[in-house]
Symmetry: C2
Subunit: 160 residues, 2 copies
Amino acid sequence: MNLRRKFLKFLAVIPLFANNTARAETSKGSKLNDQAAHLNWGHININVSNIEASIEFYRKLGFEVFIPAIPYLGLTMGFTFNQIDSASSTALGLPDNVSGRACIMQLGNGFPKIDLTQYDDLPQLKPLNNGDLGLVRICLGSSNLISDYERLVEENVAFI
Amino acid sequence: MNLRRKFLKFLAVIPLFANNTARAETSKGSKLNDQAAHLNWGHININVSNIEASIEFYRKLGFEVFIPAIPYLGLTMGFTFNQIDSASSTALGLPDNVSGRACIMQLGNGFPKIDLTQYDDLPQLKPLNNGDLGLVRICLGSSNLISDYERLVEENVAFI
């Protein structure tokens, strides 16, 4: 039993050493990478005017609902527009007492997720066009363009 | 030699069968998934006012330049603003004869990539705020918030 414990400890230590060695080599080879933050894809926020219609649209593209809510903002996909707490609305530059309905969707279990939010009674600028400054479009890849195109036409997705 | 060829053919056929069986089971279990298109993350288009400054910013977040151009639009990261061909500008709803500089960056070799484009001499709306309609923000995840925060502060990234 004691020997087994020692063995388990040994197993636990090896990956740590392996990891440290790999890091040291990386930082020697690439100073830039070592200076940068180590971030990963999280999510993309998309504000919509009708959450049910948007969920239906993204489902046609292959997304599924991952969480029927945005827990960190206290918003859900139900009929009730919940109020966002004032710390979050301040952090996001939103007016106080703003409320919304929301959900998180995903494409193939990976990242980024997409966070869809429908705000209630908020003056909103319209989505940007492709020539404007900022986040203007998302591009999805297809491994069979004709078959995916035909499926989407059948599902009444508009091609512009 | 003949036997080896037969064996190779056998190996090539097995995965096809395995794949078909897996698909049949998936479509039986999930009708929705079978009806949806089979799309993957491609890229996110971000229009910027100064491509060098934006590349520097995204590098601090851990992105690296994947391709110093957007080949399908004929744009590069060089000093010259190349003109986008008229079929592409029509497809994107851009004015004719628009020109730009651009590159593709990536975070950890994965998808989506980000396509940064600086247009020349184009009237552009400013980026949206968090309450507006459409694509409003990207969220990246950190596995060590304090260390990443400190790195970014050192690199003069502004926190708002």
